[in-house]
Symmetry: C2
Subunit: 169 residues, 2 copies
């Protein structure tokens, strides 16, 4: 599946990568990632919930979510989209705020994410790459449960949008 | 000249802005900023020199320069382009490396730069915006001589590309 990432070369020492073929059409995966009313239903791995989502779907636009823990603690994440290629690739970073302004304070988790989609029959080759600047950030992200968290969220996306739950769009 | 910046709203408390009308056609200002063989001739304010320049002119591409002081100290700057709109707007950040990877270590000067160009008769309305995440970064950039440095560099660009020095392109 390396062709998916094209210009993005994952570095095993710095990056985290989740790849899977899912039984959800590519345009539905894209909708799940880019429409707040869909995203809030699957984005937070249970038992967390997504209580807010703001999306301005263009390079330089905001991508903000608020996740709530079962104890009621809220975690706000504000990032900036860098590339928006419909049904193909979505890139954002936690290091910048909308309009590309440097985030302040520096985010606890400094990473750039690349979601890449490719049609695979009726389904989609799905790739989620988290790029870091150093091994410490990578390990911190891994310890916070990148694979479990992003994997569970993807399970939730599939449960929502895969057959037989697939909604009319 | 606020229309130049459009999607970018300078924040007086966080940003630094250099605006000027120069007697250089817009396409030559663009060439000066985007072709290494031109950039090395004007980019470093005297008495500094630009000893290296690497440009991959696309969103996600590298923008790297090495500046040398009169004492021979070298300062390497590696950034990543975010927007490349020929003859109109060039955006890059020091917070990311090529391919949008988070820079590591965090750069001493964390900023995103926006160069905006607009035709003005035979010349160009020129705007250089440096956006920061906090006042400390802004002040540090100002103390390092943003206005003098970028102003002197622009003088050098004009001396090279304005009449009568204007080369055939």
């Amino acid at each position: 599946m390396t062709t998916l990432l094209n210009n993005f070369r994952p570095d095993p020492e710095l990056d985290l990568l989740l790849e899977r073929v899912v039984d959800v059409p590519r345009d539905l995966v894209w909708a799940a990632w880019t429409m707040p009313e869909h995203l809030v239903k699957w984005f937070a791995p249970v038992p967390f919930t997504t209580t807010e989502c703001e999306i301005d779907l263009r390079a330089g636009g905001i991508f903000r979510t608020v996740l709530r823990s079962p104890d009621g603690d809220e975690f706000s994440n504000t990032g900036c989209y860098l590339e928006v290629q419909e049904n193909e690739r979505l890139v954002w970073t936690s290091l910048l705020w909308p309009g590309y302004r440097p985030a302040s304070p520096r985010p606890a988790l400094a990473f750039t994410a690349v979601i890449s989609l490719e049609s695979n029959g009726q389904g989609t080759k799905y790739s989620a790459l988290a790029m870091h600047g150093d091994t410490t950030s990578r390990e911190s992200h891994a310890e916070q449960g990148f694979h479990e968290g992003w994997g569970t969220a993807l399970d939730q996306l599939v449960a929502l949008f895969g057959p037989p739950g697939r909604p009319d769009m």
